[in-house]
């Protein structure tokens, strides 16, 4: 389903009551069945934006609109960087959680959970607890739990950044495979440019704090994506362009930080 982020701003208040602008007038439209990645230097408010889309945070200004049937509220589902699985629930019961909260009957719940458990390659692990699984397996549960509610939009907040580099690549491949089958609308936050370009149809580059849209980079790579495409000029040009944008931003963000907290003379490098 289509998601419209309409001129969203967010200002926090810090410990001393001073306003800290995090997002400044962000407008993004994600089309139905589109895979959009949000990248930006650390602390640019990309996770804040995702929380706002999920309804976990109120924007200071602007609004979010999600396409869907008129009689029911639009459903979003989130995949968290920290997995955020319930340690007291088995894989099956974790995947069923969102369905429980939506009042889906037990038999249907179990059937649907089973389907997404299989889709994410978790078959045989239904009765395990999260602590018995590896990081990669845990995030599969996170993805299955999100897909099970069959959301209008799937929100992914750096879902693989807690994984080691090898597992991360494998999980990206699997996410693409799952996406090919489900064709969900996805809004994907990452700080990894290659990951963004490899996965997405479009990469939105956010500026440093307060975040606003710097560029909207369409990725001209065919689907289904394969690893070989990472050598294609389209891939290289996109990553280089995005990196160039972010590099300046990240440098200036670092300089901002240095200004805010000047290094003490005894800890400064000679």
């Amino acid at each position: 389903m289509r998601v419209v982020i309409d001129d969203v701003s967010k200002t926090y208040t810090d410990g001393r009551g001073r306003p800290v602008p995090a997002l400044a007038g962000v407008s993004v439209t994600v089309e139905a069945e589109e895979f959009v990645a949000l990248v930006g230097p650390s602390g640019c408010g990309k996770s804040t934006l995702l929380s706002i889309v999920a309804g976990l945070l109120a924007p200071s200004e602007g609004a979010i609109y999600i396409d869907g049937p008129a009689d029911a509220p639009a459903t979003t589902a989130m995949v968290f960087q920290e997995f955020a699985l319930f340690p007291w629930r088995t894989v099956q019961r974790n995947v069923e959680f969102g369905l429980e909260e939506r009042g889906v009957a037990r038999a249907e719940r179990s059937r649907r959970a089973r389907r997404y458990i299989e889709l994410t390659g978790l078959a045989g692990f239904e009765h395990r607890y999260p602590h018995e699984l590896s990081g990669g397996m845990r995030q599969r549960v996170g993805i299955a739990r999100a897909l099970a509610v069959e959301p209008a939009v799937l929100l992914m907040d750096e879902p693989f950044s807690a994984l080691d580099a090898q597992t991360r690549w494998l999980m990206q491949e699997e996410l693409l495979a799952v996406w090919e089958q489900t064709r969900k609308t996805i809004l994907y936050v990452t700080h990894n440019i290659q990951e963004a370009v490899y996965l997405a149809d479009r990469v939105i580059v956010l500026s440093r704090r307060p975040g606003h849209v710097l560029a909207d980079v369409p990725i001209e790579l065919k689907r289904p994506r394969t690893e070989a495409m990472m050598g294609e000029p389209a891939f290289i040009h996109a990553t280089e362009r995005i990196w160039a944008l972010i590099k300046t931003e990240a440098r200036e963000a670092l300089a901002d930080l240095a200004l805010r907290a000047p290094a003490r003379p005894d800890t400064a490098l000679p």
Partner: protein, 263 residues
Amino acid sequence: MTLRPVEDRTRFLRRRQHPLLRVAALGGLVLVWELTARTGWVPALFLPSPLGVLAEARDMAVSGELWTHLAASVQRLLLGFAVGGTLGVAVGVTVGFFSVAEAVGTPLIAATFPIPKIALLPLLILWLGLGEPSKIAVIALGVFFPMAINTYTGVRAADPVLVRAAVAFGARRLSVIRKVVLPSALPMIFAGLRLGAGTALLLLVAAEMIAVESGIGFLVLHAGNLMATTKLMVGIVVLSLLGIVSHWVLNRLERLAIPWRRA
């Protein structure tokens, strides 16, 4: 230059189980006790021998006296635990989750928690009479505070990431409490139960020393008055066993209730 092997320097930090030593320590205590009693250095009136205590316990078990007292005590303990535990968890969750309840509850708990519960026994007897309710109430009070405080701490410590995740998947207030906050607090709740068990035993004996005709506390006091030291020792051993058994039961219950905990 010479090549020297690198030694494991942490060797002195290693801790071992020493299972035999554990058994020997307990056995040794009983043995020394038995020998001291046998040699007659200490008159049997002051220190009955372990074998004598065992024989007395058997006689009391056969006559049914032991079971009457034990049943009365266990019933008081369980009822006190049920009342104090339920109220403690309910108050702990409410105070931990709702900010209004926290503002009202925390100063009240802080003010009443330090009162030694035994001091309240005369007041409770005045209010509730000499019968069972006052005994159960004092045990419930002893269990209530550690349960309420631990539950509160557990609820406050619930991982905000999990609460957010639950809300992201459509959970409302009641669901968040039932499906996230309570299970997160379970380990703390069990720690509270364990603390409560110790206090409950203490209060049980104190309560059973006033105006009752049954219970292990009564047995100990009564036997002491009659200088029936062997009987008195039976009571003390039973109390110690009650403590051990309650600890064991709580451990088993905890393992059943928290199967997701890493072993």
